[in-house]
């Protein structure tokens, strides 16, 4: 399957001009919030920081009742246990990056150990990175086998496969990597680590959603999608949802099949939800930063 970049950009521009108003907007904002993978992936993350983030995940804004929780909290493997404990009794999932995130430059053994460790610590979801170097070398079999073996190491945990599209250069490559990941058993395909620019973009997301659609047509299996990195405003999040809605439809409009990998998006969604409900904007100081 080949991709025409110009047409993809036109399609995205067209979808981004959809006008989302009133109750339709409120619905989409709440849906976006419920699709969040609240993420902290820094070298200086500590248990304290992760516990604060987990509280936010379950209590996004207690001053305003009736809000959904986010979908998951995403951390490094060493902090999975902390997150697991902090989220006990909530429906929120614990996601862990693994496989020598973010570069993926490690041996197969190290990557599989990393994965097994994360799952052993209690991760419900594993976000792996593909070997971009091997992919660009044309060694697609290597990439496929690696994903398949990580999937096996995941056991019951859901596998999200990060393509790191910012390093793949073309939309044709994005499409090819998406197909390989799905065939190898990915439960989700994900754009980016957030450590490479550009991270998620609408054109890349559209191409990945179209790959998911073709895979669904072919096999009947639904694969999820997670754009990650660079989605920091509610307006942009809604544009992603429009692209999702008009590409895959109702069945994917749920946190089971669509996630946003983001951290600062949560507060902008909250601000917009409150604005939509009360008619006025509140200062950023009324929203907690974790």
């Amino acid at each position: 399957m080949t991709i025409d970049q110009v047409s993809v950009e036109e399609r995205v521009a067209r979808l981004s001009s959809r006008s989302i108003k009133n109750e339709s907007k409120l619905h989409a904002l709440k849906l976006s919030l419920s699709m969040l993978d609240l993420t902290t992936l820094a070298g200086n993350d500590t248990p304290g920081k992760v516990r604060q983030l987990c509280y936010k995940a379950a209590h996004v804004h207690d001053a305003f009742p009736g809000l959904p929780t986010v979908a998951a909290v995403c951390v490094y493997p060493t902090l999975v246990k902390v997150a697991r404990k902090a989220l006990e009794g909530t429906p929120i999932k614990v996601a862990s990056v693994a496989t020598a995130f973010p570069s993926g430059q490690a041996s197969r053994e190290v990557k599989l150990d990393d994965t097994r460790f994360a799952v052993g610590e209690g991760a419900d979801e594993v976000d792996m990175v593909i070997s971009r170097g091997r992919f660009l070398q044309g060694d697609y079999t290597f990439v496929f086998d690696e994903i398949a073996s990580v999937k096996e190491a995941c056991g019951p945990a859901h596998l999200k496969v990060i393509l790191e599209t910012g390093e793949l250069s073309t939309l044709d490559n994005v499409r090819k990597a998406s197909d390989i990941a799905m065939e190898a058993g990915a439960d989700f395909i994900k754009t980016s680590t957030g450590k490479v620019q550009p991270a998620a973009t609408l054109p890349v997301t559209l191409v990945m959603l179209e790959a998911i659609r073709d895979y669904y047509y072919r096999t009947g299996r639904m694969v999820g999608m997670k754009p990650a990195g660079g989605i920091s405003t509610a307006k942009l999040a809604l544009q992603y949802l429009v692209v999702l809605r008009e590409t895959l439809g109702e069945a994917w409009l749920t946190p089971d099949y669509f996630r946003f990998g983001a951290s600062s998006l949560a507060n902008d969604l909250l601000m917009q939800i409150l604005k939509q409900t009360t008619g006025v904007y509140q200062s950023i100081d009324y929203f907690s930063k974790d």
């Binding site: 399957m1 025409d4 959809r18 006008s19 619905h27 008009e246």
Partner: protein, 489 residues
């Protein structure tokens, strides 16, 4: 094989109505002809209503032009030609045309809303295509006004005199711009007759031309239906006829002008082939199919109304197309989310519906999207497909001018070229493939005036547009568009 799974676009998350405001639009209850720089009542005193096709309401009544009105307009145009326009320095002519272009941009929103009210097209299209392109045409030809001798080296270009111009209802302001801009830039004066179902933006343009302080009589606008157009075509004082519309009327015009010295250009119907090869970027090709046939409700002379899909990908392309059609929003033209607006007139809707019946009777497989349409007396038609159509079906051969696509499969490049050319039209075509050499092979052998590769319905003032065979002759747009309004000595 298990049945392929379908997607469900009937979502719990619906888009709320997002209507473009139209409160600021000021329409008069009644419009007269624009002749000699003034609005003057019709000699015979007759008026006819122009309707909003989305609800059937009358927007205004407009003057019904008679032969006497045409005569007045042609005489004013002649006077203006001799007194002002042909004597003015080309640089000054250019300045006037630039002024028109700028003023259209300034009033773009007003023009866009009126275009959608009177013609039924989605406001998204009026705002992003019709009005900006109309302004672009004036800008482009304004630049040529004082450079005609560079456009035709070693020739002496001379204006023709009075041009009679008759335009259709599918792109009312844009077609007025296509006609007026080159005519004026070349030093001609004009009598323009807009279509009877969509005269309002042309009359608003008349107001704008008044505000732009153009010398009186350089542009005259006479409204009316076929009889008004016939009076213009037959008037002995007209030096040039430019017509865009149906092939049927085009033939009448050619007969009527046969024994006269009038120059004519005709831009007529089409039945374009849109060709999808197996190596095409299929998801983007599906967008091209949608854009090709459902843009402007299919009221497009260059619409890609015959789809040819290579047999190896026919099943998947049709599946994608059907799913994509479910996301098209049909309804209020003024809603910013509307993809397909109202059919331009009741008569056109009846014609389209007759063709849909015909297609069913001919045995092609009928498919329509399930989208809701308003139940309000407006003219609505769901996006329609006819699958497994044959070259011999009338729905494949004849121009429907609505949101109806006939789908055929093909096997080889030679076969599709033969079938694509096997039509009495030849206005446009589309080809979708990842292979450049295939594009060139095809475009060299297709008999069509415009061929788009991996895109569709792209327009630009710099690019000539026109047809082969019964799609007409002469070119509009670009350098070629100037030649139609000049004698080259």
């Amino acid at each position: 094989m298990a049945p392929t799974p379908r997607l469900n676009f009937d979502t719990r998350w619906e888009y709320a109505p997002a209507p473009e405001s139209s409160d600021f639009i000021r329409l008069l209850p009644q419009y007269d002809h624009f002749i000699g720089g003034k609005f003057v009542p019709p000699v015979e005193g007759k008026y006819f209503p122009t309707l909003n096709p989305a609800n059937g309401n009358t927007l205004a009544s407009v003057a019904d032009g008679s032969a006497a009105d045409i005569d007045k307009a042609v005489k004013e145009a002649r006077k203006a030609y001799e007194k002002y326009w042909s004597r003015m320095s080309p640089t000054d002519r250019g300045k006037y045309i630039f002024r028109i272009a700028r003023m259209i941009q300034e009033r773009a929103r007003e023009f866009a809303v009126i275009e959608s009210l009177d013609g039924g097209k989605p406001i998204r299209e009026s705002k992003s295509v019709d009005i900006p392109l109309a302004a672009a045409h004036f800008f482009y030809y304004a630049g040529w006004a004082d450079k005609l001798e560079y456009a035709f080296p070693n020739r002496r270009p001379v204006s023709l005199g009075v041009a009679g111009q008759i335009i259709p209802w599918n792109f009312p302001l844009l077609m007025a711009a296509w006609k007026l801009a080159p005519a004026l830039a070349c030093g001609n004066t004009v009598v323009l007759k807009p279509a009877e179902t969509t005269p309002l933006t042309a009359l608003k343009l008349a107001e704008l031309i008044q505000d732009a302080d153009l010398p009186p009589g350089v542009v005259n606008i006479v409204t009316g239906a076929g009889a008004t157009g016939a009076a213009l075509v037959n008037h002995p004082g007209v030096d040039k006829i430019a017509f865009t519309g149906s092939t049927e009327v085009g033939k009448i015009i050619q007969r009527a002008t046969a024994s006269t010295s009038k120059k004519i250009t005709l831009e007529l119907g089409g039945k374009a082939a849109n060709i999808i090869f197996e190596d095409a970027p299929l998801d983007q090709a599906v967008e091209g199919i949608i854009n090709g046939i459902y843009f402007n409700q299919g009221h497009v002379c260059c619409a890609g109304s015959r789809l040819f899909v290579q047999e190896s990908v026919e099943e998947i392309v049709v599946q994608k197309l059907k799913d994509r059609m479910e996301t098209l929003i049909v309804g209020d033209p003024l809603d910013k989310n509307t993809d397909i607006g109202a059919i331009n007139s009741r008569a056109q809707l009846e014609k389209i519906e007759a063709y849909i019946e015909l297609g069913k009777n001919e045995g092609a497989e009928f498919y329509q999207s399930n989208c809701p349409v308003p139940q309000n007396g407006g003219n609505w038609c769901r996006p329609t497909l006819f699958l497994h159509a044959s070259q011999s079906h009338r729905i494949v051969q004849e121009e429907i001018f609505g949101p109806v696509l006939a789908v055929q499969s093909f096997r080889t490049v030679e076969e599709v070229i033969e079938k694509a050319n096997n039509t009495y039209y030849g206005l446009s075509a589309g080809v979708w493939t990842d292979k450049g050499s295939k594009i060139f092979k095809l475009t060299n052998q297709m008999r069509a005036g415009v061929i788009w590769a991996n895109t569709y319905n792209k327009f630009d003032p710099t690019s000539p547009f026109g047809g082969y065979k019964e799609s007409g002759f002469g070119r509009e747009g670009g350098l070629h568009g100037l030649a139609a309004y000049l004698k080259l000595n």
